[in-house]
Amino acid sequence: MIPVGFEYVRATSVDEAISLLVEHGEEATLLAGGHSLLPVMKLRLAAPEVLIDIGRLSELSYIRVEGDEIAIGAGTKHRALEASELLAKECPLLPAAAHTVGDPQVRHRGTIGGSLAHGDPASDLPAAVLALGGTIVLRSPRGQRTVPITGFYTGVFSTVRDPDEVIVEVRVPRTGGAGWAYEKFVRRANDWAIVAVAVVDGRIGLANMGPTPLRASAAEAALADGASIEEAAALADQATDPVSDVPATAEYRRHLARVLTKRALTTAAGAAG
């Protein structure tokens, strides 16, 4: 439970973090809340040579309305999402999903950017942002680019983020009165999702149903074509590829995806207005 030795640098700005990434190349890893990275380092499953700490950059911590979207600084902590009155009004799915992450200690450390960058398919926020159709803003020496979350993940724990890029912002639409729901299935309150389903405005995001967060596209299409909730939910596990592990078999996960989608769609239908 002691990590391999590493250098630690605390960046004082995003620009400095980027130059440090350029300087140290692939040996460097960004540290924000640390609640995903530090455990794997302590288990020696990861051994970065340099940790660049961006956890205290206040320029990355904000939630504000920009036109039809809400811009969220990548360093915004789960707890801030959970407690945001703005999000509660404009995008209530996100605080609901954030509320289910780990426990209060984790939520006071973990950040939305860190969660999205880590790319654990069982995490809550990637599935929620996927359902929201959000975008991710990355900055590098080459400037800034915006990647839709639908194109962000390439596999388990892997994304299109370049080694010298920093996620600076997450943008989600103002969903206002659109129906939404977050259904997370766990053994214990602070566990990762066995399966979770995020629904908003007819879009469906799935956590832990494959190597990346997934959209339940077949179910969405059926809904759009006027299918009933039951009919659409029955398609929720199509084109998914869930794993079998200690708490669940792949077959059970498929079943849960269908049940939770039915429940989430029913709740969302009731909440719309």
């Binding site: 439970m1 002691i2 020696r44 299935f185 053994r187 566990d191 059970y252 049940v259």
Partner: protein, 752 residues
């Protein structure tokens, strides 16, 4: 007014909540200044021959002072459990063969803790893999042997001298049989195992260790080191939970002491959580086959329990626990014919030891499942079947067909109290309504009745008590609290006799030089042995004080009484304080209390669960418990013991299971994968009072530490199965986690 029975707040807590406890790893002691840190290289494979060990690179790593292999440790392999075959001796560091993932192979000593893992990673060990054997039923076949010289994996047994009676169930109208798995669980105390050792110029070793009984840990370590027991001075700092897994000493303790001897330096060791989840003793791990028979009127006539116990790789206390399981096989029931046997096998897994209840929960789980299955078969209410078959209150002391002599009990009354507090009839009506409506969330009600043994095996305990000239009092006890609150409870017992407030009474334990004799804290024994000894010592001290005061006050002993820390002549203002008496000569007594037999607390639990029929998820909505351990010394402490026990009982029923893959790799060795619960997974508990005294000690008290676990586990398991009974489901093995419950529902639908 007596202080006994009152809710005195824990005197331990102000320090624990402010400064924090001082666990072994927190110790600041000048003797440990500059201590070396031990990092153990542990086997990553379950079963293999060691073909080579190369420590040359590790020896060159920064901060390394020594790297020690099994060939160099200078300790002979030892049989860790009395009665285990000599071939099962465990080396302190493996040399030829490893037998479970986590077995220590090489010891690395570094100046700084952080250097240890880096150096350990440089140790190169070649393993020639052998097949693992994880399933006890496979181990029984003996196709893969852990100890070739033994020629079998069977290391112990009870009741094997005669065959089962083939006519046992001849008189029964109904016979039901079922295989049960009482799954392996991890104790997972918040403080993992730790030890520190230093040898003095006097040739003695001071060993600090996290254990539940300093004196027997001292004896074990001395034996392993090959020294007289008074060479070892063992001290237990604060201990952060044990649950049975810290009974006695682990081989690592002797390893720490031996490495300190080899290097001539102090050595410290505090294992990581990952090490703890494979290295610390685990619990339960029995496969049981139960057969119950009786008549359709509800009378149970015969019961058979066949136990196959998993000892893990090297036999420890777990090898012995089926003895208790057999002894308690009939539970609270008066069953005319009972027979049982137990076999224990070794497997390539972590060793099994005691875990909250230790052998008795396994018995209760079996008989309570049997009663449910019997009730379901004859179509009678499970609570009714239980009440019909319990031992009548006028039959105590009662010697069961399991061979135990129960001291006192009123089992039907306990069941009735629990049913009444839970509104059993109302719950059954609600269950019927939900079924009628076809609700997605089913209601299940589980009833368990239990009796257990406390103070089993160690009936005697020592205590001494001394009043000091400043008026303070010191109590020395051979028990070993690690969360139970003895500092408060023992002070209350002394205060009752002396009239000295608890704030002025200090309770000391766990230092073998100060307290050479004691049996520690396990098996819910402390109050009925150590507590009673303190109470007796205080009483004896009162008599001693009266005799001394009689001379000083020129009064007769009969006219004296002790109150508020002073000896008074009745009806006068003449008195002398105990402190003043202590000024003249030490005012101190030492005593021993021996009950000569264990006591048998009992109770009944009613669990109410909701099961989501679509997902299989079960949630405990309520649990109502009657836990009768005789008169309660301090309800605050007793309730705390019940709460913790109930939580662990619910956890085994619904969540916890240590699992291995077919190669013997642990797959639940982190807290992310091993599902022990938090408060969020538990309901509030409804505790119902009942107190039936034992005649075996002057306070009438029995043990309470394990009751909650023993009663709650079967009640919750039963409740989940009850919620599904309308689907034709009669049994699901623990833990009743969502996947398993869903699969049972699917199978039932397939059958329908």
């Amino acid at each position: 007014m007596s202080i006994l029975g009152t809710r005195v707040q824990r005197v331990e807590d102000p320090l624990f909540l402010t400064r924090g406890a001082v666990y072994t790893d927190d110790l600041v002691d000048e003797r440990l200044a500059g201590a070396l840190h031990l990092t153990l290289v542990r086997s990553p494979v379950a079963h293999a021959r060691i073909t080579s060990i190369d420590v040359s690179a590790a020896r060159e790593a920064p901060g390394v002072v020594a790297v020690v292999t099994g060939a160099e440790i200078g300790l002979e392999p030892v049989v860790l459990q009395g009665g285990a075959p000599k071939e099962t001796a465990r080396p302190f560091l493996a040399t030829d063969k490893v037998r479970f993932v986590g077995e220590p192979v090489v010891a690395v000593l570094t100046e700084e803790l952080y250097q240890g893992q880096d150096a350990a990673d440089l140790v190169e060990i070649d393993y020639d893999p052998l097949p693992a054997v994880v399933d006890p039923e496979e181990a029984l076949k003996g196709e893969v042997l852990l100890f070739e010289d033994l020629g079998t994996n069977v290391v112990g047994g009870f009741g094997l001298d005669k065959e089962f009676d083939e006519h046992l169930f001849d008189d029964c109208e109904v016979v039901v049989t079922q295989k049960l798995v009482n799954q392996r669980v991890a104790a997972a105390p918040l403080e993992t195992r730790a030890a520190a050792a230093v040898w003095g110029d006097d040739g003695r070793v001071t060993l600090w260790a996290s254990t539940q009984n300093a004196q027997s840990a001292r004896d074990a370590v001395a034996g392993w080191l090959g020294v007289e027991r008074d060479v070892v001075h063992l001290i237990t700092p604060d201990v952060g939970g044990g649950f049975g897994a810290k009974i006695g000493a682990d081989p690592e303790f002797a390893l720490v002491a031996q490495l300190a001897r080899i290097t001539g330096r102090a050595v410290r060791w505090s294992e990581t959580r990952s090490e703890n989840m494979t290295g610390m003793l685990q619990g339960r791990a029995q496969i049981q086959t139960i057969t119950i028979g009786g008549n359709r009127n509800g009378d149970v006539l015969a019961y058979r329990l066949d136990v196959l116990a998993d000892a893990g790789a090297y036999p420890r206390l777990g090898m012995f626990l089926p003895y208790f399981t057999r002894q308690m096989a009939p539970g609270v029931y008066d069953i005319p014919k009972v027979e049982s046997r137990a076999r224990t096998v070794v497997t390539t897994t972590t060793s099994i030891g005691a875990y909250r209840g230790a052998g008795r929960p396994e018995a209760t789980a079996a008989i309570e499942r049997a009663m449910d299955l019997f009730a379901a078969e004859i179509g009678m209410d499970p609570a009714e079947v239980r009440k019909r078959n319990v031992i009548a209150p006028d039959k105590f002391p009662f010697t069961t067909k399991g061979g135990a002599t129960y001291d006192s009990g009123e089992y039907a009354k306990a069941i009735d109290k629990a049913l009444e507090a839970a509104d059993y009839a109302g719950l059954r009506a609600e269950q019927a309504r939900r079924r009628e409506r076809g609700d997605t969330v089913a209601l299940g009600i589980g009833v368990s009745a239990y009796v257990e043994i406390t103070g089993g095996g160690a009936f005697a305990e020592n205590a001494s008590i001394e009043v000091h000239p400043d008026g303070t009092v010191t109590v020395l006890t051979g028990t070993s609290p690690h969360g139970q609150g003895h500092a408060t409870a023992w002070a209350m017992l002394a205060s009752e006799h002396l009239g000295v407030p608890v704030e002025k009474i200090t309770v000391k334990h766990g230092d073998t030089d100060l307290i050479p004799r004691g049996a520690g804290t396990m098996g819910s024994r402390s109050l009925q042995t150590g507590g009673v000894a303190v109470y007796q010592a205080a009483g004896e001290l009162v008599e001693l004080a009266k005799q001394r005061a009689a001379e000083v006050l020129e009064a007769s002993v009969e006219d004296l009484e002790v109150a508020e820390g002073a000896v008074n002549v009745r009806g006068t203002t003449t008195s002398i304080t105990l402190a003043a008496l202590a000024e003249k000569e030490p005012l101190k007594v030492q005593t021993k209390f021996d009950s000569g037999a264990p006591t048998f607390p009992f109770g009944a639990h009613v669990a109410v669960v909701e099961v989501d029929l679509e997902t299989g998820r079960a949630v405990v909505d309520r649990i109502v418990t009657v836990d009768d351990a005789g008169p309660v010394l301090n309800p605050l402490l007793a309730d705390g013991q019940r709460h913790g026990g109930i939580a662990q009982g619910i956890a085994q029923a619904l969540l916890e299971e240590v699992r291995y893959d077919d190669e013997g790799n642990p797959i639940t060795a982190t807290f992310a994968d091993y599902a022990f619960p938090s408060a969020a997974e538990l309901p509030s508990f409804t505790l119902v009072d009942m107190a039936t005294p034992t005649p075996l000690n002057p306070l009438g008290v029995k043990g309470i530490g394990e009751a909650g676990t023993i009663g709650a586990t079967p009640a919750v398991q039963s409740a989940v199965i009850d919620a599904l009974s309308h689907l034709g489901i009669r049994h699901i093995d623990m833990p009743l986690a969502p996947l398993r419950v869903w699969e049972a529902i699917q199978a039932a639908k397939g059958d329908a």
